[in-house]
Amino acid sequence: MTPKIGVYVCHCGTNIAGKVDVKATAETAKKLPGVVVSRDYMFMCSEPGQELIQKDIREHNLDRVVVCACSPLMHEKTFRRACSRAGLNQYLMQMVNIREQCSWVTEDKVQATDKAQALVAGGVGKACFLRPINEREVSVSQNVLVVGGGIAGIQAALQCADAGFHVYLVERKQSIGGHMAMFDKTFPTLDCAACILTPKMVTVGQHPNITLMINSEVAEVGGYVGNLKVKVRRKASYVDHSKCNGCGICMEKCPGKATNEFEQGHGNRKAIYTMFPQAVPNKPIIDKAACRYFTTGKCGVCEKFCKNNAIDFKQEERLEEIEVGAVVLATGHQVYDGAKVTRYGLGKLPNVISALEFERMVNAGGFTKGEIKLADGSHPKAVGIIHCTGSRDSNHMVHCSSVCCMYSMKFAHLIREHSGAEVYNFYIDLRCVGKGYEEFYNRMLEEGVHFIRGKVAEVSNDARDPSEEGKLIARVEDTLAGVVRRIPLDMVILANGISAQPDADDVGRLFGVSRNAGGFFIEQHPKLNPFGTPNGSVFIAGTCAGPKDIPNAVSQGAAAAAGAMTVLRQGKVLLESTAARVNTDLCSGCRTCLDICPYRAISFDEELKQARVDETMCRGCGTCVAACPSGAIEGRHFTDEQIASEIEGLMRTLGA
């Protein structure tokens, strides 16, 4: 049966018509096989333009429509809907791109018109062989996965849970809280970080709609949009948390010791431990490397003292599968290693410390109980804070870490308050862009903090006169005074910046989210969708998407939660209709397609000895179609005969 094709050539104002002779193109199209009507119009995407198509479908009984306009990314959906409304299966509409791939990129008008006519002929050629396809809907799982339990993840989890959705919150460490749990005060209001964070942590721990999975990591992501099947690696903690009541006797009695990571390497913790006293859940796990039972085979003190028989040395790592409709990635950051900026002497010179070390030192619960002390136990009289350590530096990270100016000034305030020592802030630019931030800077000036504009060249112990003996000397060009200065200090704090997590690449690949040059996750649109990703059911929040302070991390966590809930609330999602299909008469069961499918949509039917495509998982990429040695797999909407006919149309018009 000969098809009845309608062709519609769009002017797009002068975007197309400025280079392509649209009238001639529409006229020549009339001569193509199967074409019963061909028109040109100023704006095909406008309502009268769409009406034109719908009227022709009804009056001329069109069974194929070819729209020659812009990229299908722009308006394919528009014209598909127009056809649908007129009762034509939307997959019988073919778009021909004569704007981005023709008029915009061709200088010469004659060449542009020739090219447009060839493209139109190709489109008409393909249209002849288009077949109707029915779309399928599937329901969306009503669970949300939040990866990472820092402040951004906590916010996202609470919003979704409060709205009535079930949340799986996966946290790699043994407690939620993230970096914020280590901080002493928060800028610029100077409220205590723990006081505002721990209530939220406790709410997460007790929320009926939140399943908290600590000491766990996402191992695999399968399934499809709206119905992701996620395998979570639950690492062995050797404590059965369903039995443990968190009494802490085990930690008290444990003889095993290890370096305390939470206190940045200052002091020890036990082998069975919680990260910090306000940890959520406040139940310990066993550090296998430090545990005497595991290293020597003898001990088991914790087991003896535990009244609830919660200790389980035989516990093994296991994979738990969950199904979720949407994901919020809030995997956080890693503080840049200040020791990499070798000229500042971190790790070599005593009393050069990192920002997190200072946070713990000045915290009442930290390793000095809040006392600002030097390595020898004495108190500093002069402290230097070096801004931009590792940030805004082509040898380290090019980006601005955005929080260091403010936390450096917070440090300055805390030092003045706790010790009265002189404080020198060495900065390149002061970036105080948040609400109340500039006011905080003014307050620091009033508190007598010194600000020296210049990048410190070096911190050394190279004393040259008696005033420098036993001091750390910061050499810096004071660019406001125009002199090079040597400033003797007792303590130097490096304001080391925010870098991406070392495994951000792996996590990104797992969820199909790309990373920028710094390793941070890329949003779908930097301005209009800064919390979504091109993967429609994955959202990003917090510092995994770039350096940011607490209010911004919380805002983004809430926005990502709203995005995730929008997906869930729609209830249904359309499946990709262009899925591949295996011709069972031709499949020889060679299994070539199984490994190359990027979406793991192909399985092997052991009974029939043939490949089978799971249409819910197939995204219609066509990789298997090209790879199948027997030509047994067909890409629906991209069949061999459709493509051959398209090429034929192109070639005939080009006179080849």
Partner: protein, 297 residues
């Protein structure tokens, strides 16, 4: 054997004869075959550069052209022990490749002398070649860690690290440290290991130049080092000379032996005092006593 074109530079034939003597004494054992560029001339170092840039680059370019012709495409790597020479040759290489305007002038002067240069030579500094090509393992194998008990200060000077730092990290250099450890000695850490020694300022502005070296010597002394090793002939000479005047600048006399990197390796390999030119040192006696070799002189 690894073959290299070799450019000694003027210092190696005069003030720093010992540096080259030691190099030639250890080269064969380390599997280095050095083919000296014939008819080489001054590299066009700092003083020339300060007066006439085209002249300086042309002097360096002539050496590169000679090396290219002699290497016949088979040998392209040009090794020099002198950091100033290395820097001058490297700069010329860069200018010829990247700076059209100046390259034209330099090529014209080469042509006037009947030379041409295609740009195939890669200048390399000896220290970096010792670590990255010969390898620390080979040095350790030949030396057998006999310098245990000595504390050696690694002093780089500025020119091997700035601005190019080929084969090392400019801010955290490790090549000398690797060699020191290969000889069995301990590394003495001190804060000014890549600070400028003052160089020619010692002659032109003595009060500035001497102070710069004196600061370095003080820092080294505080590190508890027995001796200093350097890849730079000018630094070696400067630090030795300045030690005669340290009472004026530091208030006390310093008595640190300053060795070229080739001398340190040679000592570890058991070469004689003469072979390594150690007798030429301005404080030779102290130097030898430190090494436990006073009788061998």
């Amino acid at each position: 054997m690894k073959k290299y074109l070799y450019y000694p530079g003027c210092s190696q034939k005069a003030t720093s004869r010992a540096y080259e003597e030691a190099l030639l004494a250890i080269a064969a054992d380390l599997g280095l075959e050095l083919q000296e560029v014939e008819d080489w001339n001054c590299c066009g170092t700092t003083p020339v550069m300060a007066v006439n840039k085209v002249l300086a680059l042309s002097l360096a370019a002539r050496n590169l052209a000679l090396a290219e012709a002699q290497g016949q495409g088979e040998l392209t790597e040009l090794v020099t022990p002198c950091p100033s020479c290395w820097l001058a040759l490297h700069k010329a290489q860069h200018a010829l490749a990247d700076d059209e305007e100046i390259a034209g002038k330099v090529r014209a002067s080469l042509e006037a002398g009947g030379y041409s240069y295609k740009g195939t030579i890669r200048p390399r500094h000896l220290l970096e070649v010792l670590v990255n090509e010969v390898g620390v393992e080979a040095i350790q194998q030949k030396a057998g860690k006999p310098l245990q008990g000595l504390k050696v200060a690694p002093y780089y000077g500025c020119q091997v690290l700035r601005p190019y730092a080929q084969g090392d990290d400019a801010e955290h250099p490790q090549n000398l440290e690797k060699i020191i450890r290969a000889t069995g000695a301990e590394v003495a850490e001190f804060p000014l290991q890549s600070a400028c020694c003052g160089g020619t300022l010692v002659a032109t502005r003595p009060e500035v130049g001497y102070q710069m070296s004196a600061d370095i010597l003080r820092a080294i002394e505080r590190s508890g080092a027995n001796l200093v090793v350097t890849p730079c002939n000018l630094c070696q000479a400067t630090l030795e000379i300045v030690q005669r005047k340290t009472p004026k600048f530091l208030g006390h006399k310093t008595k640190l032996p300053i060795l070229a990197v080739t001398q340190l390796i040679g000592l570890a390999m058991g070469k004689s005092v003469k072979e390594l030119g150690l007798q030429r040192s301005l404080n030779a006696k102290r130097c030898l006593r430190t090494m436990g070799r006073e009788t061998a002189a």
